[in-house]
Symmetry: C2
Subunit: 406 residues, 2 copies
Amino acid sequence: MRIDSVDFFYARMPEVTLEADGSQDALLVRVRAGEAEGWGECEASPLTSIAAFVTPRSHGVCRPVADSVLGERLDGPADIARIARLVARNSMDLLQAPHTFSGIEIALWDLLGRVREEPVWRLLGTTQAHAKTPYASVLFGDSPEQTLARGRDAVARGFRAVKFGWGPFGMGDVATDADHLHAAREAIGDDRELMVDAGQVWQRDVEAAAARIPALTEVRALWLEEPFGASEYDAYADLAAIAARAGSAGRGSVRLAGGEGAHEEAMARNLMRHGGIGFVQIDTGRVGGIGPSARIAGDAGERGITYVNHTFTSHLALSASLQPFAGVRDAVICEYPAEPKQLAVDITRTHLTLDADGRLQIPDAPGLGLEVDLEALSPYLRTVGITIDGETLYSSPQPGSTVLSS
Amino acid sequence: MRIDSVDFFYARMPEVTLEADGSQDALLVRVRAGEAEGWGECEASPLTSIAAFVTPRSHGVCRPVADSVLGERLDGPADIARIARLVARNSMDLLQAPHTFSGIEIALWDLLGRVREEPVWRLLGTTQAHAKTPYASVLFGDSPEQTLARGRDAVARGFRAVKFGWGPFGMGDVATDADHLHAAREAIGDDRELMVDAGQVWQRDVEAAAARIPALTEVRALWLEEPFGASEYDAYADLAAIAARAGSAGRGSVRLAGGEGAHEEAMARNLMRHGGIGFVQIDTGRVGGIGPSARIAGDAGERGITYVNHTFTSHLALSASLQPFAGVRDAVICEYPAEPKQLAVDITRTHLTLDADGRLQIPDAPGLGLEVDLEALSPYLRTVGITIDGETLYSSPQPGSTVLSS
């Protein structure tokens, strides 16, 4: 096969707020090769990512992503890896390129899986897919009482693990943060896992982060996520050492988690090698797709670090994010978009739901195992037009175009 | 003052080739605040960088760069740092943002310098600007003979240091690379500095890179630049150790150089801390502008690493790239765009030229010390239009608009 077309579909809620909720818009990617097609999703700014696909070349290694994808042969996984290397080389100086390519790469795997009638995880060499235990991501409330209520709500929806994040956490005083943490633990009881996401709030201020370690240790938080900027490896390492010492007093220690900001495999490797993290969290829709995510999952295992997906959008993105570590039995926990906006729900005809034990089975169906529902999406679709000197460089595909079945 | 407007000017040569020549297009940024204006340049894909400025928000930390800049107060350097932190926070998940903001940040410094009638380096706290010794960047030839000819040409143009890079280097066999290196040294004689740029050709293959160390040591190369991907710190460190051992046999050792791919301060810090480099090369038009570059220059000094600018475009970009290390007496070498395309020449009315000793004086004039020549640029200017649902989101400013003098 040859890659005949790559089409982007930009969907957006009527109102997009300043919440830390990544499901308010989406950039879907459809790749066609002959009679086959596949779908992926970029976890990225839609207009900027489309621009990176079509932008005029600036020089030999600042070329549009399209140059390395359209017309390329696609006969197996090795071709996907080859195309990824082309993009990395030809778009070396185009910063947005990995975010754009991530959705394309996912669509290439989906397409290949549909053609071969195999789930993507099997194409990756995985012989058995292990069910995961999803955690609910909820925002800290404005008050500890609100945090308590949100935690109880997540429990009522059947989650066995709950992550609290963002909101006021880390921005006020240490005692208020402790109140929120105790409210969170009270809400979910003693038997569920509790995780905390600081959303890079301390940038590289180890002291500010360390001041929260005692309360995090007291409430037995499994991990503290993104205390610092994505590349602040030394701050991560210093805090990890402080957290380990706090734990050795007999109450178990808080591990650090991070990696969602990685936009290439090397960044994730560096955080694992130099940051002292216990959990590496990879967004398949940002890091370059499924191939690099699977390699990171392998590396993590060798280092004794637990791989976790980062997913805050649709179930298409969720399925893509589960494939790379479907075969890792010990990596039990997965992120699950607990309260996505309606557009993220409408992206796929079917959904990945929790079973009676609060667990998630990974689809054993061709490709990513889900069908995109363009018709349901059409109210959300935005039409993008880009011109240079009055000539059309890009124009969104018609929403009503026929979806091929593979 | 408040920031009233940010305008982008996208200039492009009639033909853009696949050469590794970054001067084939340019993205200029004009910032206006009241009656004052300043200019900067992004070293980045123009269309993609414009899109990152205007793109609709996706969520609270995936916002367009414009949201953190327009309408902000600008009364001193602290405001520039504050705006940079806003961008880093509000556009955390917008990968292209640092490339877009770099040109804006440079324009903010230029504007402030013009208002205060001080060169930017003085605003940075530098009391004396030290002249630099520019090196010419030339491409390796297709044959060692061509490499020899290119080196002789650079010598004839008065350069006291010459860097050879890209072309066939690193792609063929080790003996051919050695022939090129000996031709390069022969061309420039024994008294000039020789540098080599591998353009990330070995990705993370330490063995392939190490095979070139003996020849690099024989020809007394001052540095080997970008042997690996920008974030491959461990590969850098391993190669640095190999190079140091090769040098200890009494012939001086080759140091590693890198950093042009850094799009935030932390990436440069990581390469210095974990990569074993001897030279850190920063592109002010990518790393976030002049502020982070100056902090990296300070950090480098404390670590015994030499700061060098990375500049391959206009003299506006060159002046911006010299400000952060103007005061570092020991950082003598600077990159100088030796054979830029005509559009890069036409960007400014005046230019930074080598003196009789082959040295470059840093302008002691307000801001960046150069005037942008929009009239000369007008043949190169491209008009960009971006619409969403038929409504104009972005439209290039008219090329003929009046340039205010400060």
